[in-house]
Symmetry: C2
Subunit: 212 residues, 2 copies
DNA sequence: CAATATCTGGAGGAATTTCCTCCACTTGTT
DNA sequence: AACAAGTGGAGGAAATTCCTCCAGATATTG
């Protein structure tokens, strides 16, 4: 949110309304929504939107930044406040589901790829979450709570799992149930089926998890 | 594929090329791709596409039909050829992942909703898969292989789980690993965490799983 | 191997959508 | 109260997308 410094109070408020509206609409309709619609949903004029975000990319970037910031906060809170690594991991994955990280990243990622300006601040933001995820994984496996045949890359895939809830069902509950099933599948245990292929490493992860 | 009867051989071939191209492009870029692009990918002229599919809906419908046909075939093969209900369920869910059912239905569903002409043949096609899924669920739970606190509706959510594989990773393998983790989470066992909320019923399922 | 019914490609004009600037007016700040 | 900062949305340019039409190519049949 560095860009929001030095703005007049009303301008800052509007900027946030725009980002929030963009996030919603990107989720609902994809990143190609007309920017005019974003402005309408945010309750501001189209001129205001263009002043703050010169082009679509700037808006995508802002949404990515907001989400990655939340993600990093989530990871940090989980690591700091939970009694052990496994519980931290649970909380983290549940939080990812709540953030709808999967839907968002599947929509944002492809568009952030090309114009990934080097030295992007998104990089650093992402790295904070990844570092913690690595730590949680190692530790939970060492503790014997997490099945040993997975890697952090696998967890990244699960972070961005996208539960397609048909309209009409209580989305939150559906997602929560699926998340718990997955968590049960992640637990170390005698009954665990060996996974095919090889564990996805942290490097795979770093190279690919783009936005959030 | 009833619509394909009575076409000249080359026309039928082209029709299938178009549906295949549409399926690919819908997955890659969403259902809003320019129809001209579909024609290009299929290697036919735009006129040909319009002759066979008067509007976008017809094409969506055809893709849905193709996918649901495959899905029903998958369910039937699984039920008929596997030694027990649990193995049938495994095979079925793995097949769904392979079909990329989740991505497709999350893209197709919203557009099939409004113009869901009553008495649609998609309905019947869908029903066949659902019936078998119900049977598999009941039976696998009775056999003590599937955790008892889930319903067929939950399985439907898992059928359409969308693994967002970042470009560059071997998609097939990633999906396979996630699928196995989920299957482990579905197994009945002493360690299973109780799920929040209530099991999603078969009715929830029937009412909402639209296309494929 | 004709003859003909069927099918094909893509040029191109109409219609729609989206973009984005510009400036008269409003609002926050000091 | 004064001014810097911010606002909205009309509207023209540009880009997309749609979809028809027909001269020519291709399968099929006897």
């Amino acid at each position: 949110m560095a860009e929001a410094q030095g703005l007049r109070a009303d301008a800052r408020r509007n900027r946030e309304l725009i980002v929030a509206a963009a996030r919603e609409l990107f989720l609902e309709q994809g990143v190609d929504v007309a920017l005019e619609e974003v402005a309408r949903r945010a309750g501001v004029g189209i001129g205001t939107l263009y002043r703050r975000f010169p082009d679509r990319d700037a808006l995508l970037h802002a949404v990515g930044e907001q989400t990655l910031t939340r993600l990093a906060g989530l990871a940090e809170a989980a690591w700091a406040e939970e009694p052990d690594a496994w519980h931290a991991l649970r909380r983290f994955l549940r939080g990812c589901a709540e953030l709808r990280l999967g839907e968002l990243s599947s929509k944002l990622d492809p568009h952030l790829h090309q114009p990934l300006r080097a030295g992007d601040d998104l990089r650093e933001l992402r790295q904070r979450s990844i570092d913690l995820l690595l730590r949680m994984t190692e530790r939970a496996q060492a503790d014997g709570h997490l099945r040993p045949d997975i890697g952090p890359g696998d967890l990244a895939l699960l972070m961005t799992l996208h539960v397609h809830t048909p309209p009409g069902l209580p989305a939150g509950e559906a997602v929560a149930r699926v998340t718990e099933i997955v968590l049960d599948g992640l637990r170390a245990g005698p009954g665990a089926t060996p996974l095919p292929g090889t564990a996805l490493s942290g490097d795979d992860l770093v190279r690919h998890t783009q936005s959030g």
